[in-house]
C-alpha cells in the first residue's frame, strides 16, 4: 500500500532500501528531516556532525572503508563541505557515497539563493533531481547504485518545495549491500599531484562515459504532446510545467548533470521552439545554447524566487492570478520565554554594535529588539568583530559584541575565536548557549551532551575550550538581566578576548507549564513592550498578558518599574 511521505522522509526510506549504513549530517532547513528520519531505522548508523565539512569527510571515510554512506545539508552547507567534495570527485568511492543537498529558492529559511547545480558542475559531481516523493525514494536508491558503478560521489539535489511536500510512495524491502573490503590504494586515495593528475584524467573520462550511458539509465524521459513548444525541466519545476503548459512537450531530466546532449538534440528536433524552465540560475539554458541549439529560458522566468504554476502561466501569456492583499505582516518572533530575548534586551540597552550569526537570534534584527546588525554565514560573527576592530579601532570594540549560538560556535566559531586571540584582538563574544540547535527544530550537538538518539554522549565543555584558546570566560544566566549587563560591561572594558557564555535552555526544551504572568495596576508606560514578547499586548487601559502564549518566564516582571507584573508558581 502507498504511504504519504514527506520528500525528506522518502529519501530516508530510499537510503534504508539502498542498504545505506552510515549517515553524517549537520542540520539545515529544508534538509534536516532526512537525517532525523534515517535515525528511525536501526540499520542506519546516524550522527550529527559539528559541521558539513566534518560530516562529508566522515561519510567519505565510511565509503572508502566499504559502506554505503551519505550526508545531508542545505545549500550553504555544501559551501562548508566543498573542500572534501571537490577532491572526493577525484578519488571516487568504494561504498556508494551520496550528498543530499537542499536548495531554498525564495529563501524561506536561508541567507542566499545559491544554486547547488553550479557547485556540482565545478566539482564534476553528477546530479540527480527527483520531482516527487516517489522519485525521492527511487532516485536515492539509484544514486547509490550509480555512485558505485561510476566510482563517483553523487549529489541528489532537492528544493524546499520537494523536501517539504508530501506525496504517495510505494515502498520496497532493503537490499543487501554488504560492507566491501577496505583495500589500501594510494593511487586512488592519496591525492598528491602525481596521483591527482591521473585521477583528473579519470574524472573527465567518467563524465563522458556517463553522458554516453545517460539514455540507458532510465532517469530522463520525453513526454510528447504538442510540437509548437518543447520544455526542458527537472525537479519540482516539472510538476509546475505540466500544469501550467499542458500542451507543451517535456524533456524531464532526472539526471540533470552531466547533461545528455544527444537527448536534448533529439528533443529539440521534434519541437518548433525550445525553452528551459529552471529555478535560480540559467544553467541548462546556457549548456544547451553552447551546443548551438536555439533556446530560451531566463527571459521568461528570471533568476529569483521559486517558480509556480501561475508564474509560468503568466510568463507565457496566461491570465494573471490574484495577488496577496496588503495586510499587517506576521513576521516570525522569538518564542515566549526565549532566553535570547533577555540577552538582546541587554545588548540593546547598552547600545552595542552586534555582529550576529545564523540562528533563531537572527530575528533580533527586527523591531522591537532590533539590535543585531549583521548576519553573513555560520560563525562569521567573530571574524566580523575582529575585522571591525581593525578598521574602527579599540574604542569601537568596547561598544561591540559578536553573538552566536552554541551550535553555530561549534560549527564554525571556534577557529574564529582562535584567530581573535592569536591576533591580539580586544573583542567580546557572547555565546547564546541554549543547550540545543534551536532554529532547525531541536537537534543535539557536541555541546549538549546527547547524541541524535538522545542518548548521553561526551559533552564538549565550552568554557574550558574557550579558556584553552586563551579567552577570558564568564558563564552567566541571561534571564538574570542585571547580572548579565554587569558582566558584559566588565568584559567590554577588559583588554584581550572575552567570551560570555549566556547559558539558559531554549524555552521549548522546558516542557513544564508555568503559570502565566499577571498584571495589576499597569501605568501603561510601555517599558515591557520593548521586550518584543508576543504574549504582551498593549491596550488603551494598559498591557495585558495573553495567558495562552505566556510561559511564565518572568522577564517582564523585572522590567516593570512599578511592580505591576507578577509571576510565580508552577502548574501542570
Amino acid at each position: 500500500m502507498k504511504k504519504l511521505m514527506l520528500g525528506n522522509e522518502a529519501i530516508a526510506r530510499g537510503a534504508y532500501e539502498a542498504g545505506v549504513r552510515f549517515v553524517s549530517s549537520y542540520p539545515g532547513t529544508p534538509s534536516t528531516e532526512i537525517t532525523e528520519f534515517c535515525s528511525a531505522y536501526p540499520e542506519l548508523q546516524c550522527e550529527w556532525a559539528p559541521n558539513e565539512k566534518v560530516a562529508v569527510e566522515t561519510a567519505f571515510g565510511a565509503s572508502m572503508a566499504g559502506a554505503r554512506s551519505m550526508s545531508c545539508m542545505k545549500h550553504v552547507g555544501l559551501n562548508v563541505a566543498a573542500d572534501p567534495l571537490y577532491t572526493a570527485a577525484y578519488t571516487g568511492v568504494n561504498g556508494g557515497l551520496v550528498l543530499f543537498v537542499a536548495d531554498d529558492p525564495f529563501m524561506h529559511s536561508s541567507q542566499n539563493e545559491q544554486d547547488t547545480r553550479m557547485i556540482a558542475r565545478a566539482a564534476h559531481v553528477p546530479v540527480l533531481e527527483p520531482a516527487d516523493s516517489q522519485e525521492c525514494k527511487d532516485f536515492t536508491r539509484k544514486a547509490f547504485e550509480l555512485s558505485e558503478k561510476y566510482d563517483t560521489p553523487f549529489i541528489l539535489r532537492l528544493t524546499t518545495r520537494l523536501a517539504h511536500q508530501r506525496s504517495p510512495v510505494e515502498t520496497a524491502d532493503r537490499i543487501d549491500a554488504p560492507v566491501k573490503p577496505y583495500e589500501k590504494n594510494v593511487m586512488k586515495y592519496v591525492m598528491m599531484p602525481g596521483m591527482a593528475r591521473k585521477r583528473h584524467v579519470f574524472v573527465e573520462e567518467r563524465e563522458a562515459r556517463m553522458e554516453r550511458d545517460a539514455a540507458s539509465l532510465g532517469l530522463n524521459r520525453v513526454e510528447m504532446r504538442g510540437t509548437s513548444l518543447g520544455v526542458v525541466c527537472a525537479g519540482v519545476v516539472y510538476q509546475f510545467v505540466r500544469e501550467a503548459l499542458p500542451e507543451a512537450s517535456i524533456l524531464k531530466l532526472g539526471l540533470s548533470y552531466p547533461l545528455d546532449r544527444q537527448a536534448v538534440r533529439d528533443f529539440a528536433a521534434r519541437v518548433d521552439k525550445l525553452v528551459v524552465i529552471e529555478e535560480l540560475e540559467g544553467i541548462l539554458e546556457q549548456e544547451i545554447a553552447a551546443m548551438g541549439i536555439p533556446v530560451e529560458g531566463k527571459k521568461y522566468t528570471g533568476r529569483q524566487g521559486e517558480l509556480s504554476v501561475q508564474r509560468i502561466r503568466e510568463a507565457f501569456g496566461g491570465e494573471k492570478a490574484p495577488q496577496e492583499p496588503a495586510l499587517p505582516a506576521r513576521p516570525p518572533v522569538l518564542c515566549p520565554g526565549c532566553p535570547h530575548r533577555a540577552t538582546f534586551h541587554v545588548l540593546k540597552k547598552l547600545r552595542l554594535h552586534v555582529f550576529g550569526d545564523i540562528g533563531c537570534y537572527t530575528l533580533c534584527a527586527l523591531p522591537p529588539v532590533d539590535s543585531l546588525e549583521s548576519a553573513l554565514c555560520m560563525g562569521a560573527s567573530i571574524g566580523m568583530a575582529v575585522g571591525a576592530e581593525k578598521a574602527q579601532g579599540r574604542d569601537f570594540a568596547r561598544h561591540s559584541v559578536a553573538v552566536l549560538g552554541d551550535s553555530t560556535f561549534v560549527h564554525s566559531g571556534i577557529t574564529g575565536l582562535v584567530n581573535a586571540v592569536y591576533d591580539r584582538s580586544n573583542i567580546t563574544v557572547v555565546i547564546l548557549d541554549n543547550r540545543i540547535t534551536g532554529m532547525t527544530g531541536h537537534q543535539q550537538n557536541p555541546a549538549t551532551g546527547f547524541d541524535i538518539y538522545n542518548q548521553p554522549a561526551p559533552q564538549l565543555n565550552l568554557e574550558r575550550l574557550c579558556e584553552s584558546i586563551g579567552a577570558h570566560v564568564v558563564v552567566q544566566n541571561p534571564m538574570e538581566m542585571d547580572k548579565l549587563e554587569a558582566v558584559i560591561k566588565e568584559e567590554l572594558s577588559r583588554d584581550g578576548v572575552s567570551v560570555v557564555i549566556a547559558r539558559y535552555p531554549c524555552a521549548l526544551l522546558d516542557k513544564r507549564r508555568h503559570a502565566a504572568a499577571r498584571v495589576l495596576g499597569c501605568r501603561n508606560c510601555g517599558a515591557c513592550m520593548r521586550l518584543g514578547c508576543p504574549a504582551i499586548e498593549r491596550t488603551d487601559k494598559g498591557v495585558v498578558i495573553n495567558a495562552a502564549l505566556c510561559n511564565g518566564c518572568g522577564l517582564c516582571v523585572g522590567i516593570c518599574a512599578f511592580g505591576a507584573i507578577t509571576c510565580g508558581g508552577d502548574q501542570q
Binding site: L4, Q165, E243, Q310, P325, L327, P331, C335, M529, G532
Partner: protein
C-alpha cells in the same frame, strides 16, 4: 474528490498535523494527493501556510491563487490574507479568535476590522469549542470537524485518520472536538 485546500494560521497552532491528517485521509479514500508544508524559521510565531491538493492526478504541490475550493484558517487575519487563493465560490472555514502580529502589538499597524462576504463562510470561535471539549490545543481538530461536513467522506474515515495521527492519551478529547466541529459545521 477534487479539492484544493489552503490551511493557514500562526506557527505553533497545529497546522502541519491538520494537513497531514487530510493528506493521509485522501490517500486512503483512493485519491492522489500532495501536501506542501512550511518548516523552519517561518514557524516561530509567523504566518504559516500549507497546501493540500486532492484529485485524480495531482502535479504541482502548490495551490494556484484563485483556484482553491477551501481555506481553513486558524486565525482571522490569516483568513483575510489567504482569501485570494479562493475561486469565486470557494468557501472559508475560520476561527474568529485573533492573535495579534508583532506590528499590531507594537502599534505600527492596525488589525483589520473586516468580514469576508460573497462566498460561503463558516466563522466560529473554535478556541471556545476546543476549550469546552477539554483542550485549547484542539482548535485544529474542531476546524477539521467543520471541514468534514463539506466532503462526502464518511465520518468514520475522518475519525480513523485522527486516531492514527494524535497521541493515544489525547484521542478522546480530539474526537470530542472533531464531533463538536462537525456539529458547528452543520448548524
Amino acid at each position: 474528490m477534487k479539492k484544493d485546500i489552503i490551511i493557514v494560521g500562526v506557527g505553533g497552532q497545529g497546522i502541519l498535523l491538520t494537513s497531514k491528517i487530510l493528506g493521509c485521509l485522501a490517500l486512503k479514500m483512493g485519491d492522489d494527493v500532495k501536501v506542501s508544508e512550511v518548516h523552519g524559521m517561518s514557524q516561530r510565531g509567523g504566518s504559516v501556510i500549507t497546501h493540500v491538493r486532492i484529485g485524480e492526478n495531482v502535479a504541482s504541490p502548490l495551490v494556484t491563487p484563485g483556484e482553491a475550493d477551501l481555506v481553513i484558517a486558524f486565525e482571522w487575519l490569516e483568513a483575510l490574507r489567504a482569501e485570494f487563493y479562493l475561486k469565486p465560490d470557494g468557501a472559508v472555514i475560520a476561527n474568529t479568535r485573533r492573535m495579534l502580529p508583532m506590528p499590531v502589538i507594537m502599534g505600527k499597524a492596525e488589525y483589520p476590522e473586516r468580514q469576508i462576504t460573497g462566498r460561503p463562510v463558516y466563522a466560529l470561535d473554535a478556541q471556545k469549542i476546543a476549550e469546552d471539549c477539554g483542550s485549547v490545543r484542539a482548535v485544529n481538530i474542531v476546524l477539521l470537524g467543520v471541514m468534514s461536513t463539506l466532503t462526502d467522506w464518511p465520518q468514520e474515515a475522518f475519525e480513523e485518520a485522527i486516531a492514527m495521527s494524535v497521541k493515544p492519551a489525547t484521542l478522546e478529547t480530539n474526537l470530542k472536538a472533531f464531533r463538536a466541529g462537525r456539529q458547528a459545521g452543520r448548524s
